[in-house]
């Protein structure tokens, strides 16, 4: 038996000795809903992975289960029971249910259409159409215990690669799989590896881009939190393939949990001989460092990221030379994102054809998305490339919240574009999305309903990219500023029709003239909303109306005669703009009103309306 096989055998025994595993989601979302308190409660009852129990059950904190909307989530795989919206008061009943095998009815997921209670996770619509491969172990294992990762085939691919394959064979396998960069650009991963291997240099680096800056995306964070070993393994395989012995993971500072878990994982991997000197006795050396970002979106751009690792202002450099030839500290550097590396072990373990069986002609494999916004089932999903937006929104996402009408989906964040009703049935892959003026980007997918003002969203993204523009090149620095100024003018009800032409010209100039990806893609939200929602821009300009009733300059909040004078609104108003006597109709002082709509939410008789 090989070294990893022996360890795997032992790890499986350890897991079997834990008895029934109660998997509690401890991803960022569920932690915010009290997952840690639940785990504490289980521990108080004596259930702890470190002290194996005679009751034959163990509580295991895991990474993200995906269905964040229903958090805190608990899965008991041995019994096929899935619990949702768990609170710490439920712990006793859950323990009883493990003993008796009878599920706690009230903690089961209820299908909102049929009203049926569903016990098995795989029968819930949210999970049915998903295919977790890169995230395969996320939610199954304790991310802080390498034993768990090993039992679920962790480091098996690394051993296979180091003992049975040449670097060229590894690169060929990755190339044949059709894997493309999951960070946004979609560059063929095998090709990138090939170029970096071919580059001349005595020292080479592997870098992982974990600077998931797209607001509204958390897939990479979930992978690092839930299965950090897969990332480390993918990076080690890449290092072997290109001939590197040192690596950096650049993680954004907003992800403290990812950073903590990665540090633990690196230490445990070193102790087990999967990282460090003479890995698995093959003579291959490889060490990984963590670099924390400091909050700059532009550092997601590879050359800016490299500058930041070097301790400089994170400004992009012109390409060529590409990082493959001259990257970190001037040495050939391979740089891929978290999910890309996360796909590597599976490809090497199961073969290129296994991976290529998922997806479409030019976009192979699966893709993770973070599904958020005005949708019923928010969460983290992994689906085959080529799935349609309709399947994501209505089958997995359970439709729009409150039965509202779908208006648009913003994909790829501030670098992406919006998709509309006409794209609902388009297979989503790299090429189709680019054609539609959007991009896969990192995979943030924000669903918006009819109450969203699309012009305001364009302004929101423009303000984001303007703020994050590093200022190095003129088109991006000045262009994003002027685009924002025009959008602000329109949103404020002061736009003129010529503004639209100037806006469009500017957007094209910024797209064509900018140095790096940030500037080249910053106009995408503007261009795509102008293309699909021009009417709405015109309504703001000509009619001075915001059709969605969002833009404050054009909004007036008034209290109708339905008012019963309960004074709730007056007490809620943060700026004391509402006055009136008890049991009499109240009025809003329009000069004071900040249009925060807090009053609308508290009115018991819906007497307050937007005009």
């Amino acid at each position: 038996m090989t070294i990893v096989e022996v360890k795997q055998e032992e790890a499986k025994k350890n897991i079997a000795a834990q008895g029934t595993r109660i998997l509690v989601c401890a991803g960022t979302g569920c932690v915010a809903c009290g997952a840690l308190e639940i785990i504490e409660e289980f521990k108080k009852k004596g259930l702890d992975a470190s002290t194996i129990q005679s009751d034959k059950m163990t509580v295991v904190p895991t990474g993200c289960h995906g269905f964040c909307e229903q958090g805190v989530l608990i899965l008991i795989p041995d019994l096929g029971i899935n619990y949702v919206k768990v609170q710490k008061e439920d712990v006793d009943e859950i323990i009883d249910s493990v003993k008796t095998g009878v599920p706690v009815e009230r903690l089961l997921y209820v299908d909102k259409d049929t009203g049926e209670k569903i016990q098995k996770r795989e029968e819930i619509n949210f999970y049915k159409k998903q295919n977790r491969t890169a995230l395969g172990n996320v939610g199954k294992i304790n991310a802080e215990e390498i034993n768990d990762a090993i039992a679920f085939r962790g480091y098996e691919a690394l051993e296979k690669v180091l003992t049975k394959m040449t670097p060229d064979e590894v690169i060929k396998e990755v190339t044949d799989s059709g894997l493309r960069g999951r960070g946004g650009g979609g560059f063929p991963t095998g090709k990138k590896w090939f170029f970096t291997r071919a580059a001349q240099g005595d020292k080479k680096y592997v870098v992982c881009n974990a600077d998931e800056g797209d607001p509204g995306a958390f897939m990479d964070g979930s992978l690092m939190e839930g299965d950090p070993h897969r990332l480390l393994e993918g990076m080690a395989i890449a290092a072997y393939a290109i001939g590197a012995d040192e690596a950096y993971i650049y993680v954004r500072a907003e992800y403290p949990l990812s950073i903590r878990r990665l540090r633990i994982a690196i230490k445990q991997a070193e102790e087990n001989g999967f990282l460090g000197k003479n890995i698995l006795g093959t003579g291959f050396n490889f060490e990984i460092h963590i670099k924390e970002g400091a909050g700059a979106f532009v550092c997601g751009e590879e050359t800016a990221l490299i500058a930041s690792i070097e301790g400089e202002r994170g400004m992009p450099r012109s390409k060529p030379p590409f990082p493959a030839n001259k990257g970190l500290f001037g040495k050939p550097t391979l740089i891929n994102n978290v999910e890309t590396y996360g796909n590597v072990p599976g490809i090497l373990l199961n073969g290129a054809s296994w991976f290529a069986a998922f997806g479409t002609d030019n976009s192979k494999g699966t893709k993770t998305f973070s599904l958020t916004g005005d949708i019923n089932n928010t969460g983290l999903i992994e689906v085959p490339m080529g799935i349609t937006l309709r399947e994501i929104i209505y089958d997995i996402g359970g439709g729009l919240r409150g039965g509202k009408k779908f208006k648009a989906a913003q994909i790829g964040g501030p670098s992406g574009g919006c998709l509309t009703e006409e794209h609902l049935d388009m297979p989503m892959d790299y090429d189709n999305l680019t054609k539609a003026g959007a991009m896969v980007g990192s995979g943030g997918l924000v669903i918006m309903n009819e109450d969203t003002c699309i012009v305001e969203i364009a302004r929101f993204f423009a303000s984001f990219t303007q703020r994050e523009s590093c200022g190095k090149c003129v088109p991006c620095r000045e262009g994003t500023k002027q685009m924002l100024a025009i959008l602000e003018k329109i949103v404020a009800g002061k736009g003129e029709m010529e503004d639209l032409d100037v806006l469009e010209d500017l957007a094209i100039a910024v797209k064509d003239g900018s140095l790096c990806g940030l500037g080249k893609t910053a106009p995408n939200p503007v261009l795509s909303t102008l293309k699909y929602f021009r009417d709405e821009y015109i309504a703001h300009i000509k009619d001075k109306k915001c059709p969605a009733g969002v833009c404050t300059a054009m909004k007036k909040i008034v209290i109708t005669d339905k008012c019963i004078g309960c004074t709730k609104c007056a007490r809620t108003c943060p700026v004391a703009a509402i006055t009136g006597n008890v049991k009499e109709q109240h009025v809003i002082d329009q000069d004071k009103c900040i249009k925060c709509e807090a009053c609308i939410g508290v009115c018991p008789v819906k007497a307050i309306i937007k005009e």
């Binding site: 960022t28 979302g29 797209d214 995306a217 909050g295 700059a296 916004g373 700026v575 925060c596 508290v602």
Partner: protein, 166 residues
């Protein structure tokens, strides 16, 4: 730079931080992060000191790095840092009304983000990765999901009560 500022900076501590991270140019971001953690902001004197202490750096380059990244602040921050997430998911679910209400509650006028008593600092951040639970706010690292203006007031009032020892 005022003289009181100089008195506040504990250079032994700064030295200790530089040594613990390694006095190398590529570690400057990590050093600044630790200094900010220690002092709750980046005192200008500390920046100048780092710039002269580490080879390959100058006070100007350190200042350049410190002003480039959003995480760094050259102004002292409050005891409680309330970060309002304005990522896309939070934005479409109403993060801006939350911010307005919060600033009104803390009596922070336009352009002001720290209360006079140095108790609260309000920050707008671009995404905290808890998008499924939007809108969220984070107070000194603790995430509060699915916030409403009412819940926000309760959070602030609870902190104020804590401070008064109630």
């Amino acid at each position: 730079m005022s003289s009181t500022d100089i008195a506040k900076v504990d250079f032994d501590k700064v030295n200790e931080i530089i040594l613990s991270c390694g006095p190398k140019k590529s570690n400057v971001i990590a050093i600044l992060q630790k200094i900010q953690e220690e002092f709750r902001y980046l005192p200008e004197d500390a920046l100048t000191y780092i710039g002269t202490k580490i080879e390959g750096l100058s006070p100007a380059t350190v200042y350049g790095v410190a002003t480039f990244y959003n995480q760094f602040s050259l102004d002292p921050k409050g005891k409680y840092i309330i970060r309002v997430c304005d990522g896309t998911a939070c934005h479409v679910r109403g993060s801006m009304p939350l911010l307005t209400a919060l600033k009104a509650k803390l009596n922070l006028k336009e352009g002001k983000f720290t209360t006079d008593d140095m108790m609260f600092t309000v920050e707008i951040v671009s995404c905290l990765g808890a998008c499924s639970l939007s809108p969220v706010i984070v107070v000194n690292g603790k995430v509060y999901p699915k916030m409403t203006t009412d819940a926000l007031k309760i959070v602030v009032d609870t902190l104020l009560k804590q401070e008064r020892g109630e």
